[in-house]
Amino acid sequence: MSCSSSLRRARPLLGTLVEIRAEGGDGLAAALDAAFAEIEACQAYLSAHQPTSDVRRLAATSPGVTLAVNERTWEVLSLALEFAAASDGIFDPTIAPRLAAAAYLPAELAGGEGDWRDLELLPEHRLRLRRPLAVDLGGIAKGYAVDRAVDVLLAHGVAAGCVNAGGDLRLFGSEAETIHLRHPADPTRLLPVGKLADGACATSAPYFARRQSGGRSLSPLVDPRDGSLLPDFDSVTVIAARCVHADALTKVALLLGDAAGPLLARYGAQALRVDPAGRIIALPAAGFIASSPVPSPVPCRLPSRVATGD
């Protein structure tokens, strides 16, 4: 692959730093601007923190009323409901009131007793609620925005690159690149875990978000089974073809552990759990492996629809 031209930019978006790297092709600067504009659009419609977003409009909507939303909102909600159904509610986009009660989300999202089954998606990007509810797309929107930005770069003829929204990333192009995870005990220590080409990777970990409460460390992640905020947990990473799948599956893998196996297999994904000692446990298992500065790549066992090896 020739990559005579290459650009790399970062902007503060989606509550984190979004980095976009583009290589090969003409008009890389215009492609990057368009990709950032797409992420800004995702943020404008999907953010719980922007008062004019669709997420906030939905929270203010009464049951039975038909609400027209942006195409992005409708798509990401339909993906969220797909994961909610597939995981039997382990992935639940309607836990917003619990997060608002813990002050992780704005008070406008505090109301509503409905769950994901009360959200009805209608044709032409419209929706209707059966009971009052509030959604938080924090567990899926970043991955979705990354995929949209990659689509924009590909449409601009960019040959290769990466969109990384605070650790939810997707690589495209033919070359495989090393993926580094943060060490849970010291997030500035980086662990090389594998080589990825044309795929995505997302991580859920408490190290940058945890807070102390009554002597316990709590994370901004809710267990929909009992509404509790999760205490400190290991870092969980999911590798999948699309970033939106990787993003949503981290929550499922985190809450279900080994029981997440069938759902991971369905999406051709692998989960990596990093414990506080920096050891990595893979699901589906690729043996108990550890990281090192001089890794030797070996193909791991994945479902047949995923080609492995370089």
């Binding site: 790399r8 930019r9 970062a10 902007r11 503060p12 509550g15 984190t16 730093l17 980095e19 790297r21 600067a29 990384n164 605070g166 650790g167 939810d168 990333l169 495989a176 690149e177 090393t178 993926i179 580094h180 995870l181 010291d186 997030p187 500035t188 220590r189 980086l190 594998g194 080589k195 990825l196 080409a197 795929g199 990777c201 859920s204 970990a205 190290y207 940058f208 978000a209 870092s235 590798i239 999948a240 692998q270 920096g278 050891r279 690729a286 043996g287 108990f288 492996i289 550890a290 990281s291 090192s292 500065p293 890794p295 030797s296 790549p297 070996v298 994945l302 995923v306 492995t308 370089d310």
Partner: protein
């Protein structure tokens, strides 16, 4: 998608790790490149502004944030737009960024110039920060080029968001 997981003998884990100076660091743009990215083709005039006590107070009231530095380097375009560079410190990271603000005080664009992480904290250490003085993309720091794709949980950008709020209030005061 192609994915291959590294497998390594567990014995290596116990070995002593060399502590690199940088956990991760990237230079995205120089000040000049950021000016061209935000105000393409514009001629910018550099000014040194020293904020008076009243101006500092007005900025702090408007943004709800402390103004620590009274002397600012500001660039002004012919149409009255402003370009400012600022630096914020997180727990693990040091971020330099630039903003373009229109003559009406509206945020036009934000670009990250530099992002640096320090291992094991102590990001405020003057010795560590002194390494960056005078460094530009023309004389870049020696970085591990292999570290490009980090999948770590979200690093909050609250410090940058606060910084932008403070710069918007600053522009508001300067544009009056």
């Amino acid at each position: 998608m192609r994915w291959s997981l590294f497998a390594v003998a567990p014995a290596l884990v116990a070995g002593p790790a060399l502590a690199p100076q940088f956990a991760y660091a990237t230079t995205y743009l120089t000040v000049e490149q950021a000016q061209q990215a935000i105000f393409p083709g514009a001629k910018l005039q550099r000014m040194i502004v020293v904020l008076g006590e009243g101006q500092k107070k007005a900025i702090e009231e408007r943004s709800g944030l402390r103004v620590r530095v009274a002397e600012l380097e500001v660039w002004k375009a012919a149409d009255g737009s402003l370009f400012l560079v600022d630096e914020v410190l997180g727990k693990h990271e040091l971020i330099t960024y630039a903003v373009g603000i229109s003559a009406a005080g509206v945020l036009r664009q934000v670009e990250i110039l530099d992002y640096r992480e320090k291992q094991g904290g102590e990001i405020r250490s003057p010795e560590w920060r002194a390494q960056f003085v005078g460094k530009t993309a023309a004389a870049p720091l020696k970085l591990d080029q292999d570290i490009r794709n980090i999948s770590g949980a979200t690093l909050s950008c609250r410090h940058v968001a606060d910084g932008i709020k403070r710069l918007l209030a600053t522009a508001d005061v300067l544009l009056k």
